[in-house]
């Protein structure tokens, strides 16, 4: 039997090492937590400098003692492998853990403990934390923009209907399955357009007309993102195919289109769509600002989508084209059944990337006077009654955007897994 040697821990006295190591680490974490949460220093009797470094030293020694390979305890092995491979690694891990512990209290106090949510005016916010009252009071505007309060049920209704219709694909019916792609690619967007055109915009069936300038907030973010995503994808797909076409005219037009839209900043495109574009139109021809913006963003993003899809097309081996051709398939059959399904599957991450960028680009439509959620925040923060709460507003917007984008990226991961059939 080996003697206890704390410089070279070994497996024979596993429990002794384990308990003493865990004891030291616990003291280290306890010390940091106490000083972080209760502002007390249990090692104040020590000289300042040592008292400051003590948790790190104790933790490092503790981690050293429990660094025993092949201990047979699953969690210990996992811990050693991931955060405790050597002294440097252990110090780094401890510093990160301490930093997290240290940053929790100020974060919590700003967010929750010292925050205010009661009251209706700025005067209610007396604490040092966040003023959620501001968000609460303005929430309606952040979601619906300048849309009249008594008509907001129209937005709610159309969004609920659209979400409901999106789940049609889950109906388990063999007969219906064949039409699902058609439904999602063609019918669903048409329904969405009709709903938004008649229900949100109004002007028919006895519904009061609400001009698009009054639309805004989160609902506008959704409307713009939704239509841009739907339009830019097929356009981008055709551009990608066009760029690889054998017909010179088609190829040059596609290349020219893609390079033009990729070469200009989105903000200029939006400006052009709103200021320049109407000048080229005949006097009596009217196109709504929102429609122009959606078309502009769609074409802009389509150029990016095209290049992403082209990457997927190029990644396919030539043999796939040969095989499809040798079976007598023409250009469209070959692409629809053989090439595109594989190419699109390859570029799901790239397309998700482009789509996320698109959603996060929507705030730029403020340059043409359309105020989606960030635009409404900017408006609200300059309101004389509510000056000085920009921070809360931006944190709120960040959380909203994060939720939307995280949901989208999760969905794209699921798609990747769903269509993974090989290799």
């Amino acid at each position: 039997m080996n003697k206890l040697n704390f410089l070279r821990p070994n497996i024979e006295n596993l429990n002794t090492y384990l308990y003493s190591g865990i004891f030291l680490i616990s003291i280290a974490i306890l010390d940091v937590s106490l000083s972080s949460f209760f502002n007390t220093n249990i090692t104040s009797f020590l000289p300042n400098f040592i008292s400051f470094l003590l948790p790190l030293i104790l933790g490092t020694v503790g981690l050293h003692i429990i660094r025993i390979e092949f201990s047979g305890i699953k969690n210990l092995d996992l811990l050693n492998k991931n955060i405790n491979t050597n002294t440097f690694n252990a110090v780094l891990s401890l510093l990160i853990i301490f930093a997290v512990i240290k940053s929790i209290p100020p974060f919590l106090s700003w967010f929750i403990i010292d925050a205010t949510i009661s009251g209706d005016t700025k005067e209610a916010c007396t604490g040092t934390g966040a003023c959620w009252t501001y968000i609460k009071i303005w929430l309606n505007r952040f979601i619906y923009g300048m849309y009249p309060n008594e008509l907001q049920w129209r937005i709610n209704l159309s969004f609920i209907a659209l979400i409901g219709l999106a789940f049609v694909g889950l109906i388990p019916s063999e007969k219906f399955k064949k039409f699902l792609t058609l439904y999602y690619v063609v019918i669903y967007p048409i329904i969405a357009f009709v709903l938004i055109y008649y229900l949100i915009s109004g002007g028919a069936f006895g519904l009061e007309w609400v001009e698009t300038g009054a639309w805004g907030g989160l609902s506008l973010t959704f409307i713009v993102s939704f239509f841009c995503l739907i339009f830019c994808f097929p356009v981008g797909m055709f551009l990608a195919l066009g760029r690889r076409s054998d017909l010179p005219t088609v190829r040059y037009i596609s290349v020219g289109f893609i390079e033009f839209w990729r070469g200009v900043p989105l903000i200029t495109v939006l400006f052009m769509s709103s200021v320049m574009f109407p000048m080229f139109l005949p006097e009596d021809f009217f196109m709504d600002k929102l429609v122009r913006v959606i078309i502009a963003i769609s074409l802009f993003e389509a150029a990016y989508v095209a290049e992403v899809i082209r990457g997927g097309l190029q990644a396919l081996p030539r043999g796939q084209y040969d095989a499809a051709k040798s079976l007598g398939m023409g250009y469209w059959k070959m692409h629809i059944f053989v090439i595109l399904p594989q190419a699109l599957k390859l570029v799901i991450p790239g397309i998700a990337n482009t789509f996320l960028a698109l959603v996060k680009d929507t705030p730029l439509i403020f340059v043409v006077g359309l105020l989606e959620i960030v635009g409404m925040l900017n408006l609200a923060k300059t309101n004389p009654k509510w000056l000085g709460y920009a921070m809360e507003g931006y944190v709120f917007a960040a959380i909203i955007f994060w939720i939307i984008c995280y949901a989208m990226s999760k969905y794209s991961y699921n798609l990747e897994i769903k269509y993974k059939t090989d290799r």
């Binding site: 040969d322 040798s326 079976l327 007598g328 059944f337 594989q342 269509y419 059939t421 090989d422 290799r423």
Partner: protein
């Protein structure tokens, strides 16, 4: 003597400045089995890829089953539908199951009802003995099984001619036999076949004629027995001495 089903006259092909095929004359009668051999880079793959116009020729004529291969896309697609092809790299569609690989072209090119196409596919898969793998995806199969599936896929179009482009070159030695067996069965059933291969055993067993190509030209074309017993040109003799 019946009319040839494939007739190639004075065919030339260039890749840029490099001439890959020089004055190829070849006619293949129905139900004949032709083996094409030769060193790598001699143009044998290009030759059979020209027959279903996966490659374009620049000079001369190719007539397949009475139709001349020209720019006319409709003709090309019609010819491809009745000329099956099997590739060195299998080229199965990895996103479709084995069964769907086989039924895709019959359903969408020949407009066959789905049920009939599946029946036909199962029959062809039975022929090459992978019917039990029908629901799997190509990535889950061994090389030999994939190549047999590729043969079944081509046969599902009920072609009049089958082209094989080095079908066993990418396979492990123990899998070559199962693929060759499938090809021998096909030959015995009377299919017109043009096979590019280095498997001389296969050539001796099934071929009616053997063609030896070098540097883009047909150096020698002879009945199988004649070809192996007394090759005429020195180049053929050298090649045979190295390969046998």
């Amino acid at each position: 003597m019946s009319d040839p089903i494939i007739k190639i006259e004075g065919m030339n092909k260039w890749f840029g400045d490099f001439q890959v095929l020089k004055d190829i004359d070849l006619s293949v009668e129905k139900n004949k089995k032709i083996v094409v051999c030769g060193p790598s880079g001699s143009g044998k793959s290009t030759l059979i890829r020209c027959i279903n116009r996966l490659e374009e020729h620049q000079k001369g004529t190719i007539i397949v089953d009475g139709t001349e291969l020209t720019e006319n896309t409709k003709n090309i697609e019609a010819i491809r539908a009745e000329v099956g092809m099997v590739f060195q790299q299998f080229n199965l569609f990895p996103h479709l199951s084995i069964l769907d690989n086989c039924t895709l072209a019959p359903i969408w090119v020949k407009k066959m009802p789905k049920k009939d196409a599946e029946e036909l596919a199962m029959k062809q898969l039975e022929q090459v003995q992978i019917v039990d793998q029908a629901q799997k995806f190509p990535g889950q199969l061994s090389g030999g099984q994939q190549q047999r599936c590729a043969i079944a896929r081509a046969l599902c179009m009920e072609p009049k001619i089958m082209l094989f482009d080095e079908p066993t070159s990418a396979l492990d030695p123990e899998m070559i036999k199962e693929v060759l067996d499938a090809m021998v069965n096909l030959a015995k059933a009377g299919m017109t076949m043009i096979v590019v291969t280095h498997e001389m055993g296969f050539a001796k067993e099934v071929a009616d004629e053997v063609i030896f190509m070098d540097e883009g030209m047909i150096v020698e074309k002879a009945e199988t027995k004649e070809f192996f017993a007394n090759p005429k040109s020195d180049r053929t003799k050298l090649f045979l001495s190295q390969i046998l």
